[in-house]
Amino acid sequence: MNRSRGKIRPPRRGLATDHVDFDEYWEVLAQSLREIYAKNASHLSFEEVYRNAYKLVLKKHGDRLYGNVKKLVGEHLQMVAVNDRRTVGTKFLERLKFVWEDHQLCMGMMKEVLMYMDRVFCADHKIPSIYVSCMGLFRDHILRHPEYNIGNALNSVIMDQIKMERDGDIINRATIRACVYMLEGLYETEEELEDQKVYLTSFEKNFILASEVFYQKEGEQLLRDCDAATYLRKVDKRLKEEYSRCHDTLSVLTEPKIMKVVDQQLIDANINDVMEMEGSGLQFMLDNDRYEDLKLVYELISRVDSEKRSLKKKMCARLVTMGKESSATIVSEEKVANNITLVAIRWVDEVLALKDKYENIWERSFDRDKGIQAAMTRAFTDFINDFDRSPEFISLFIDENLRKGLKGKTESEVDAVLDKALTLFRYIADKDVFERYYKKHLSRRLLMNRSVSHDAEKQMIGKFKMEVGFAFTGKFEGMFKDMNISEEMTSEFKRLSQESDNNYKKGVELSVQILTSTFWPVGGGTSDHPCIFPLEIRAVRDSFTQYYLDRHSGRRLDWRPDMGTADVRATFKGKRHELNVTTYGMVILMAFSELSSGGTLSFEEIQTITSIPEQDLVRNLQALAVAPKTRVLIKKPMSRDIRLTDVFAVNEEFSSKFMRIRIGVVATNRAETEQERRDTDEKTERYRGATIEAALVRIMKQRKLISHTELVNEVLTQMASRFNPDLTMIKKRIESLMEREYMERAEGERQVYRYIA
């Protein structure tokens, strides 16, 4: 009645005077135990059996009792083993299950009647309880029976059954499950360590080995017989089967191990071959948007490689190939097609389609995997930068959209298009090259007034700004500012001229666009674009120059006749027309207007009068005298080309149903020619050199003393958002700066530079 049980023992002497004869008591007890085996417990009094065992233990016969019980159980099991040795197959499993359950039941009852022995004798002598040790007897007498080797037989029967199930037969899972329970309930030693379960020590290892062989064979066979999709599905099915087998038939302990076998034999060993299968592998799935199959690939690969390296590699390789392919076709088409803009747009569309496609796959099949996304971005960056026309093409794409494409679209649609362009922009490493092209295209849009909407333009620039910062967009914004200022100036100049009516001539109305030369991609000054203006024009020009320089002293104003346009009124056959021509065109027409009717001018004469550079003159004359709808001049002889010997006259027969006629110069292709591109490249190089130098000086000024590698790294990081500088270029710049004595090598240390103030 004391809670701290086991401390107080009943006195052994005095009270226990009555002598106990072990054999007598044991006989009764043994009989009772045999009755338990015979399922006759209902005729037994628990109290009596219990009291007998109690007495024996009390009288120090515990070890004899323990030994005798073990012997009795052992004998019984031996008898069972002999009786059951002949059953085979499923019957064998059923029988074993029955024997095991019977043993468990009887042992449970014996354990209870012998509770006093377990509690006092076993605990005191630190020996395993009678239940545990009888479980050991089962292991030794039944499973490890030296003659019948029932354990091995059991293993092979279970394995046969599982093989049958893997081959598609139906088996009795419950019986196997029961036998596995038995193996799980038995231990190698009486200490019953968790990792010493008989299931683990004698069954599982064999099972795993057999499965390895099985799946290795199956892998080879599937690889031979199936296409990729079927293979993946089969593997997936196998995984599910093994999972449910572990839960329904075998033990959950085996699940991770058998999964690993399948992972290794079916996935790890073969997945590369599967992905490379001709006509059904990864390439096929990607090209044909097989989301389900790709999802499987992803899931299976995730099982063996959390990084999914091989999938990333193969997918990116395909992506880059696709990208390069479309670049290559575009380049080959470009040679035949005359409209490069269309080609550029096709290219951008294709790249965007590719991006959409892969993004779709990523979303639907790859679980939005971050690593794969990064790999995809890398792949896009790779092939877009590999294609040297990409900055130009992307800029052309934006140009086209801002000039025409966006007409009549809602704000959100506009935004979507611009965003598309921006995603591609992000991939470009040489942002400065793009900037150059964009500047060129933007200036054309602004000067020719071709932009659909200034809002859209600003929106685009805003997006660039968000993406790479103010330094990148500063010049674009400057261009817009120039446009606004020019407008103001034009109207103010007009007002002033009208007021004073000084040099203001009716009939010549001037509209100026004053461009800050560093913002705009317009090289050269007046000297490069000589042109003798007609008198009245010259007057207006001079008066404006006067006006401008008055307002802004210290500035230089250059006139660019090659970039402007003019409206000229002319009468043909009594019908008034307004001709919108280039400034050069206007100058040429003015030369004719001074002639008497029917007069002619030769090419050379025109050249002398106007001093327009030959190339520009040819182009303008082509527009005025060759293009069929706008032929206001006629030339002799009639031919498509302009020759230096040609003679021109006003086409008196000219007619058109329109009042206003635009006479455009035969378009110099808006994409670049080879020559132009070389120029652009050269310019880019020069610009980069200057940028790198600026960065170098900035860094040196700040650090005074810096090692070579540090300096180079610093430059690389500073330039990263704009372009990828070439290492040799940086070196060259450093050398040049040293020559010019901006910096020097520190004494004694060749790899360290010092800034010279």
Partner: protein, 106 residues
């Protein structure tokens, strides 16, 4: 013990009988404190005791068994309580009760 011996019909109570034929009826829940008695009444193994809900203790007289029963109820009553009053144990019974407690694993 025979089948004609008195037995209780109530599944929630149990008869405890001493060797001098004193019979005590107790709530089953209270006697389950003893693992030995619990096993005796286990329906699964179905010994005589479990069939008749009746346990005969050949090694206890009425006086001792009464004290045992008293303890069962005492134990159940104060199961989760603190500040428990001592149970009264006559000194002459103490030794025998200790023996019985060991026997019942209580």
């Amino acid at each position: 013990m025979s089948t004609t011996a008195p037995k209780t019909q109530d599944e929630n109570s149990v008869l405890l009988v001493s060797n001098d034929n004193h019979t005590f009826i107790l709530r089953k829940s209270s006697v389950m404190i003893s693992p030995a008695i619990k096993s005796m009444l286990d329906k699964k193994s179905n010994f005589e005791e479990a069939q008749f809900n009746r346990v005969v203790f050949k090694n206890m007289n009425g006086v001792v068994l009464e004290k045992v029963c008293e303890y069962f109820y005492y134990r159940e009553k104060y199961r989760d309580a603190t500040d428990v009053p001592d149970m009264e144990i006559p000194p002459e019974l103490a030794l025998e009760l200790l023996m019985v407690a060991d026997f019942l694993c209580t």
